[in-house]
């Protein structure tokens, strides 16, 4: 007789697995119901906007929306010599339409990002296009001499394409040329890569400063008697209870050339009155203010890790013959690595996207990539470039996170 394993059944005869799944389904449903509001909130306010913005970095349909027929006829153009009469006729018609519907300005701005000076050419020609008659090629060429340049047409064709890698290229200081691909921008126009590097360096310096200043404080907090350490903890948390703006402007009062620090230095005689140090509106100001603001994010994870390390370990190391330095380096420090990792990662990631403080105290040399993104979002309204810059920043952070996971291990991070 073959040995068949009968499925175990519940008292009423239904298979136990089915019964169990039905019983668990209720509780799973309830659990899902509890997190649903937050899940929906995050999807609506975080995930969707981020994806929408990321999309802007590679997708821009301004030109196609307002001049669709021009875009279509340009599709067939080889991009080698001036286009034919058909293109000019379509362009003239749509320019006239755009003039009437007041949409030509948007198209002009879009093209202007690819070819500077294009805006005036577009608006000027659009004005004249209303009264233009065939042959349109001649009329348009007469309206502005830029229409005679093949490069200008190439730029227009590039902007007419709705899916484009041009913005990511621009975010890395590369220019997209029709039929040629990416080309590095001239030296004085390469600003983004420099800013990315500066952001990384400043974030790393801020992280290092926070670690140097925060480690001893966290150690004190973890080892002092409760009464004293509570007082110290209040001092550490005090900055959290003060507005970010107040704290940053306080640093302006302290560090500016007529500020507290310089006044004292002049009074002591370290420097003369007419050669005061410039401690703010540059990289120094950004580093000092950001270190101050981000310090608690380093101290708290370190503290929570150090709190769990009994003093017996260092004592054991000492009794086994290790000097205080050796006991610290070999026994205490390795056990605080999860705290260093958590604090470092937290501070670095916060610093890399920091905006208000560098904007207020950064001056020219102390601004970060986030300030550039804000500029494109709010002033130049080049959202596609802002999205590309943001996308690269996000990719960079994820890359660092991945690298950290490989080197230290993300399980080794303890936030409290």
């Amino acid at each position: 007789m073959p040995n068949v394993v009968e499925p175990i059944t519940a008292a009423d005869g239904t298979p136990l697995k089915k019964k169990l799944a039905r019983a668990l389904f209720r509780s799973k449903l309830r659990a899902a119901g509890l997190v649903l509001p937050l899940f929906a909130f995050i999807i609506a306010t975080f995930v969707v906007p981020i994806f929408a913005l990321m999309l802007q970095g590679v997708h821009n349909d301004t030109f196609y929306t307002y001049m669709p027929r021009t875009a279509e006829v340009l599709n067939d153009w080889d991009g080698e010599s001036l286009p034919g009469e058909l293109v000019f006729a379509t362009l003239a018609a749509e320019l006239a339409k755009g003039k009437k519907e007041r949409t030509v300005g948007k198209v002009a701005t879009r093209v202007n990002r690819q070819y500077s000076g294009a805006r005036s050419t577009f608006t000027k020609t659009a004005r004249k296009a209303v009264k233009m008659e065939a042959p349109f090629k001649e009329a348009i060429l007469k309206a502005d001499k830029k229409w005679k340049r093949v490069e200008f047409w190439q730029a227009i064709k590039l902007t007419s394409e709705t899916w484009t890698p041009a913005f990511y290229g621009a975010a890395l200081d590369y220019e997209l040329k029709l039929n040629e691909g990416f080309e590095r921008k001239v030296e004085k126009e390469r600003i983004h890569v420099k800013l990315f590097w500066r952001t990384l360096v400043i974030s790393a310096v801020v992280m290092g400063c926070c670690l140097l200043l925060g480690y001893p404080v966290a150690y004190l907090l973890a080892t002092l008697p409760l009464k004293t350490s509570n007082l110290l903890m209040i001092l550490v948390l005090l900055p959290f209870w003060t507005s970010l703006l107040v704290r940053t402007t306080a640093w302006i009062a302290i560090l500016q050339s007529q500020g507290v620090v310089n006044d004292i230095l002049v009074w002591v005689g370290v420097t003369s009155d007419d050669s005061r140090f410039s401690l703010i509106y540059n990289m120094t100001g950004t580093v000092v203010a950001m270190t101050h603001i981000l310090l608690p994010f380093m101290v708290l994870p370190l503290y929570s890790v150090m709190k769990t390390i009994p003093p017996a370990y260092v004592r054991a190391a000492r009794s086994l013959g290790a000097t205080p330095t050796l006991a610290f380096l070999r026994i205490y420090l390795p056990q605080t690595v999860p705290g260093i990792g958590a604090g470092g990662l937290l501070v670095f990631i916060l610093a890399i996207g920091y905006y208000i403080t560098p904007a207020l105290v950064g001056g020219q040399s102390g601004v970060l990539i986030s300030n550039m993104i804000a500029f494109h979002m709010k002033s130049s309204l080049n959202w596609s470039l802002a999205a590309a810059l943001g996308g690269i920043l996000l990719a960079g952070v994820l890359l660092l996170y991945w690298a950290y996971d490989r080197v230290v291990g993300i399980d080794n991070v303890k936030l409290g």
Binding site: P310, A312, Y313, R315, A316, A317, R318, S319, L320, G321, A322, T323, P324, L326, A327, R330, I331, P334, Q335
Partner: protein, 403 residues
């Protein structure tokens, strides 16, 4: 200072190790590791506490005027209830606390100002303090590496000490992967691997279950006997102290109440605290009526007169606590000649196999215990019976009045 080679001893026959493999490895270990170890002449104290006082807050003394000499090779236990100052003394000896007053000497040298890492004292901590981020082998290699020994030497000694505690196969594990008993062995091995002359143990067996604790007691005792190291052991467990120690210092309230070998401590307690703390004890309270030739006549609070050895009593009219061990009392239906005998009523009988624990009401005290041996003649005991309880005068000690 006169020094001599320490001749290693093998464990006494009455305390054979629970398994013979231990014994074999121990012997191997002694010859390989400690054959050349020099110890001090036992006439000079190896460790000396001289008028040591310690205060943490400047208001109360945790240790009050401690004087304690420990000879080389001795196993001394500091025994006492929590807060009695015993751990503080150990920490002062290890160098983690400084004495407020007095000197601590090690090998004739004052060590008050020597930092812990230069004292060369091995220490086993209460919760073992094995470094969690290092493997067992790395833990054991730590004291050797900080002494800048060569890699080959380190490997050799680690292997030997792992053999000693029978944990050869566990070298690559992390401490968290070991059981409590295994962690305890490694902690012990780590304190011994660099061959210190003095090893301190701070309640090392406190976290183990009863059976393992007893097993480890014998193991520690044998390691001590075979290696000849001086051990200072802190515990609040009296049976642990009695099992292992050469001498026991009973601590209470920052003062050493009595320093003696286990037998003396149990048989001849010098004051009421020691009598109560070590072993089980019956106490009878009374007033001294007369002291002659070392025998005190004490009138109990119910009017009975009892004779007892005058150990620690004041003059006539002073209060006294009489101490009698439960196993030294006998229960009889009528008065026996030559014994002190008091009326008693049996309140409770607990059958424990080898003996019967008999709780009686004697002289108004409801908690008088007699351990009645399980012999056929004694099996007529019934609850509520009015009997006599008796003992030899030499088994009853008149001590200071504690309450």
């Amino acid at each position: 200072m006169k020094r001599e080679k320490y001749a290693s001893k093998i464990g006494r026959p009455q305390h054979l190790p629970s398994n013979m493999v231990t014994c074999f490895y121990l012997t191997l270990f002694i010859f390989s590791l400690h054959s050349g170890n020099i110890m001090l002449d036992s006439s000079d104290p190896f460790v000396r506490f001289k008028n040591v006082q310690k205060s943490y807050d400047g208001e109360t003394l945790v240790v009050k005027d401690l004087n304690l000499d420990i000879a080389a090779g001795e196993f001394v236990t500091m025994l006492g209830p929590s807060g009695s100052g015993k751990t503080t003394c150990l920490m002062m000896l290890a160098g983690f606390e400084t004495a407020t007053h007095g000197d601590i000497e090690l090998g004739g040298r004052p060590i008050n100002n020597i930092p812990p890492h230069k004292r060369g004292i091995g220490m086993v901590f209460q919760n073992y303090a094995l470094f969690p981020h290092l493997t067992v082998a790395e833990n054991l290699a730590f004291p050797l590496k900080v002494r800048k020994m060569s890699a080959a030497e380190v490997e050799d000694k680690v292997a030997k000490v792992l053999d000693m505690v029978q944990m050869r196969a566990f070298g690559d594990r992390k401490p968290a992967q070991l059981s409590g008993g295994q962690q305890q062995r490694i902690a012990l091995a780590r304190a011994l691997v660099f061959e210190p002359d003095l090893v301190l143990m701070d309640e090392p067996l406190g976290a183990l279950d009863k059976q393992l604790r007893e097993h480890m007691q014998y193991e520690i005792k044998h390691i001590h006997e075979s290696l000849g190291v001086t051990v200072v052991y802190v515990t609040h467990d009296q049976s642990e102290a009695l099992t292992m120690s050469n001498r026991i210092a009973v601590f209470n309230d920052g003062v050493v109440q009595q320093l003696a070998d286990p037998v003396t401590l149990y048989e001849k307690p010098e004051n009421a605290f020691v009598a109560q703390f070590i072993g089980e004890n019956n106490r009878l309270l009374g007033t001294v009526k007369d002291v002659t030739k070392g025998i005190a006549s004490v009138e109990l609070d119910n009017g009975d007169m009892v004779k007892a050895l005058a150990i620690n009593v004041g003059g006539k009219g002073e209060r006294s606590l009489l101490s009698v061990r439960p196993e030294r009392c006998i229960v009889t239906p009528k008065k026996s000649r030559g014994l002190t005998a008091l009326n008693g009523r049996i309140e409770e009988l607990i059958y424990l196999g080898d003996h019967i624990r008999c709780r009686m009401n004697v002289a108004g005290d409801d908690d008088f215990i007699v351990k009645v041996p399980n012999t056929s003649s004694q099996l007529g005991l019934v609850i509520g019976a009015e009997v006599y309880v008796g003992w030899e005068t030499s088994d009853c000690r008149a001590l200071d009045y504690l309450y």
